[in-house]
Symmetry: C2
């Protein structure tokens, strides 16, 4: 996965968190996603098709999800309810949409699916076999979230 594909997603995460959720996360170093999956409580997953194929996911520990969503919607989020699930899906959608726009401007043809939102204490999102996967850790003042980017370029 080259920087010209990776960077639009990194940029989109920072843009969406800053401008939409007013949260300034600290970004860790992108790393290859291994078999040792991280565990999360709420994830938004968006499928990518076209020249860039795969998926991007935003996975939150509960405390981070409530913090980011509370800031995003402008009122405290106290539990992972319907509003929080919708908001996590919307954040994932905006990240994928932002990256798609930047990639389209660079000449890549891709489409993004409607987000699916998964809720469950300590769930993991697996690395598909044969697909390059990068995980990018982020830290907020109320806990971590991770962006998984599993994709390949259509030859």
């Amino acid at each position: 996965m080259t920087a010209d594909i990776l960077n639009p997603f990194l940029q989109a995460v920072m843009d969406v968190l800053r401008t939409m959720a007013h949260v300034e996360p600290r970004r860790g170093n992108p790393r290859l996603k291994g078999q040792e999956d991280g565990c999360y409580d709420v994830s938004g997953v968006v499928g990518l098709t076209g020249q860039v194929q795969g998926f991007v996911s935003l996975s939150f520990q509960e405390s981070a999800a409530l913090h980011v969503v509370g800031s995003f919607v402008g009122e405290p989020a106290l539990a992972v309810d319907e509003h929080v699930k919708d908001a996590v899906g919307e954040l994932a959608n905006m990240v994928a949409g932002g990256a798609k726009s930047a990639l389209a401007a660079a000449g890549y043809d891709l489409r993004i699916s409607i987000p699916s939102v998964i809720v469950g204490p300590g769930h993991t999102i697996s690395r598909p076999r044969g697909i390059p996967c990068i995980e990018i850790p982020f830290e907020t003042e109320r806990g971590p979230f991770t962006v998984d980017l599993c994709l390949k370029l259509e030859p």
Copy 2:
């Protein structure tokens, strides 16, 4: 969601389970997916883009996943390991691919994403707001699985 969209997915599930996994599930009645989500242990999720937008997921309780995957790969599956995760992703991919082929033959343009596989005891897949969602329950001799179909037609 009309029958001409729903039926290719129902048919693909039965075809894949029968011909690839040699499992003959009993199908329950499709119903609108409500706020009361079912709880699963392993899910494969495939994003759909194009004229048919959304996602399709296959969600298994662990016992059903081990049964279906064991029959699919031809040797007993004893735990949800890398092989089982890969197989659940492959089953979801084949269901989406089968439905895509039937829908393409009927004149619909759609693309399917690489599957993401979620593992976690008792996780749920949420219904996106504003998107019609149907859940179709299936029963195997070792427990249930469910197919969620959340999609809309691009106008």
